[in-house]
């Protein structure tokens, strides 16, 4: 291979670009473009490295007691044992810490979270659509929706306790069993409203001129909803789902704090319990797990938004 052949195409030669007017062409992968596209990833990696090193140093030599502010390495050790097992617990703070303890609790939380989110989204979208499309449904439901959505959800917890109790389980057709149904109530009540309200707002704010245009070109009422209102609303729904996903996460931690358990109460419970027994590395490891999960989730939904509504691009300021 000659030197000529491996040359990185830094110079997008004139032969690659034509003067043909209006021609849309594929952008070349020049070094400058690679840097422009990936600089945020590079900066993030450097940023996090510095952060973790600083953490380690401050925990080791800083003014805090390691009992409450563990080192990064201890945290990672608990993280490793909690997720992948095979840990040597000898000489280690092993209150609550055990092989796979984070995974097991994580799975508990994931079940609570995913089922509640499916219910929230599955109910929230049609409720929002109906409220947006029908003045009657709007008039009937909106007092409840607005009151419940603005009320701090934890305030209705005692009522839920009185109504459904804190333990027990609901079984649906023997297919699925929900332990502690009150937890599902807490999560759904925290998560459902952003979906409802955003969907409703999307329907309500559909541009009149788009509706007029569809009418002029012959849209029936059904077509108007299918071809204009729904697509217009879709990005609002996605925003609602995004908000809802992070609200739901709050709901999960809240529900697990409130109802507690002896074992396997979920990640929220693990954070709470491990702190109560002064196993700070485990608390931090569980928290870190939650943070990573939340981050992946948010980034995932942002990618989803970009795919679903490319016309609503972020301004590149």
């Amino acid at each position: 291979m000659t030197k000529e052949q491996v040359r990185f195409p830094v110079d997008a030669g004139t032969e690659d670009y034509t003067d043909e007017p209006g021609r849309i062409q594929d952008a070349k992968w020049t070094a400058a473009r690679v840097w422009r596209k990936s600089r945020f990833a590079i900066i993030t990696i450097i940023n996090l490295t510095v952060f973790f090193i600083a953490w380690e140093l401050i925990a080791r030599f800083g003014p805090f007691n390691q009992l409450v502010f563990p080192t990064f390495s201890d945290t990672m050790n608990s993280f490793k044992i909690g997720w992948f097992g095979g840990g040597n617990l000898e000489g280690f703070n092993n209150r609550l810490l055990a092989d796979f303890v984070i995974v097991q609790n994580f799975m508990e939380s994931l079940k609570l979270y995913s089922i509640s989110m499916v219910i929230s989204i599955g109910l929230g979208i049609p409720i929002g659509l109906m409220m947006g499309a029908s003045k009657w449904v709007d008039a009937i439901l909106s007092p409840y929706v607005w009151t419940l959505s603005s009320l701090p959800r934890i305030a209705i917890y005692p009522i839920l306790v009185m109504m459904i109790g804190i333990a027990g389980s609901w079984s649906f057709f023997g297919i699925i069993t929900l332990e502690d149904p009150i937890q599902y109530w807490v999560v759904i009540l925290t998560a459902i409203f952003p979906v409802i309200i955003n969907t409703w707002a999307g329907v309500k704010t559909t541009e009149q001129s788009l509706i007029n245009a569809a009418k002029v070109f012959g849209a029936s009422r059904t077509q108007l909803y299918l071809k204009v209102v729904l697509p217009y609303t879709l990005p609002f729904v996605v925003t609602g789902i995004q908000l809802s996903l992070s609200r739901g996460l709050i709901g999960v931690v809240l529900a697990e704090f409130l109802t507690g358990a002896q074992r396997l109460g979920g990640v929220g419970w693990l954070i709470f319990r491990s702190a109560a027994v002064f196993n700070a590395p485990l608390t931090y490891a569980a928290l870190l797990s939650l943070a990573i999960f939340a981050l992946v989730l948010v980034q995932g939904t942002r990618a989803m938004e970009a795919r679903i509504a490319p016309w609503r691009q972020q301004t590149k300021a």
């Binding site: 209006g22 021609r23 849309i24 541009e207 001129s209 788009l210 007029n212 245009a213 569809a214 009418k215 002029v216 070109f217 012959g218 849209a219 029936s220 077509q223 071809k227 204009v228 697509p231 217009y232 879709l234 509504a309 490319p310 016309w311 609503r312 691009q313």
Partner: protein
């Protein structure tokens, strides 16, 4: 080209009054009042008037989107009760669907109404018209990737693709640069000459009105009334080099229209005097 050739007019508006309900203020706003107007088949009627005088409102009544409060309006002898495939519209604010590509936007009329056009033919027609308005190569672009003028051309293509009997055009060239504007004006002129397209056309430009219209209706300040209807008796094509400004009637006509429109633009003061 006023009526008198025996055929009844295509559109007849009699004593129309219409307006809007202002929900917040619980008031009714009269946008247009006492509008009586006819449009012949094959005629090019231009509406000019100050901003907010009700031009868009009138065109929406013809389109069938707005119901008049009083008066009657008929199309081909039948009262207008809703929209129809015989009337297509180019919107002042484009009103193209942002989630559809240029091609999909232009195909919308075929999708919404059963016009007895096969899928292939619809596609063919769409491509032809996209080509005609100068958007070839952008069939698969999304509106957010287009300039304002290009979006407006999508709107024009969407309205023309079904070959409607009447084209309702609400300031279709308002957002275009001078050159594109002239190109499209000439295309429209050719279309009008060749196929006798009936057009109701709104503009703020007196030159454009003279260049394109058979008759020009000047509308007064809100509530809009017809101030005067001016006939333009000039041969087409008018847009060829020097034809328009060199025409002996041009200067007088322009001045007359200017006076009318200026009066209306300064409406409040005129009323007070």
């Amino acid at each position: 080209m006023s009526s008198g050739d025996g055929k009844p007019p295509l559109i007849v508006a009699e004593n129309l009054t219409c307006g809007y309900e202002l929900e917040r203020e619980r008031k009714l706003l009269t946008a247009l009042t006492g509008i009586s107007l006819t449009v012949d088949e094959g005629e090019f009627l231009v509406l000019v008037g100050p901003s907010g005088c009700g031009k868009t409102t009138f065109i929406n009544v013809v389109a069938g989107i707005i119901k008049p409060w009083e008066g009657t309006i008929t199309f081909d002898g039948k009262p207008i009760v809703g929209t129809g495939s015989d009337r297509a519209m180019v919107f002042q604010d484009y009103a193209i669907l942002p989630w559809r590509t240029v091609e999909q936007n232009v195909l919308l009329p075929f999708e919404l109404r059963d016009l007895n056009v096969s899928k292939e033919e619809a596609k063919q027609r769409a491509h032809k018209i996209i080509d005609d308005v100068g958007l070839a190569g952008f069939e698969n672009s999304f509106p957010h990737e287009l300039s304002g003028g290009m979006k407006q051309r999508v709107g024009i293509a969407r309205a023309m693709v079904t070959q409607p009997r009447v084209l309702l055009a609400d300031e279709p060239f308002g957002a275009l640069d001078a050159m594109t504007r002239e190109v499209l004006q000439r295309q429209l002129e050719t279309l009008v000459m060749e196929s006798k397209q009936t057009v109701i056309f709104i503009t703020h430009s007196i030159d454009e009105a003279i260049a394109l219209g058979d008759r020009i209706a000047v509308i007064s300040n809100r509530p809009g009334r017809i101030r005067e209807i001016v006939s333009v008796d000039m041969d087409r094509p008018r847009l060829a080099e020097g034809e328009l400004t060199g025409h002996p009637d041009y200067g007088k006509l322009r001045e007359h229209l200017w006076d009318l429109v200026k009066d209306e633009a300064l409406g409040a003061k005129v009323d007070a005097a």
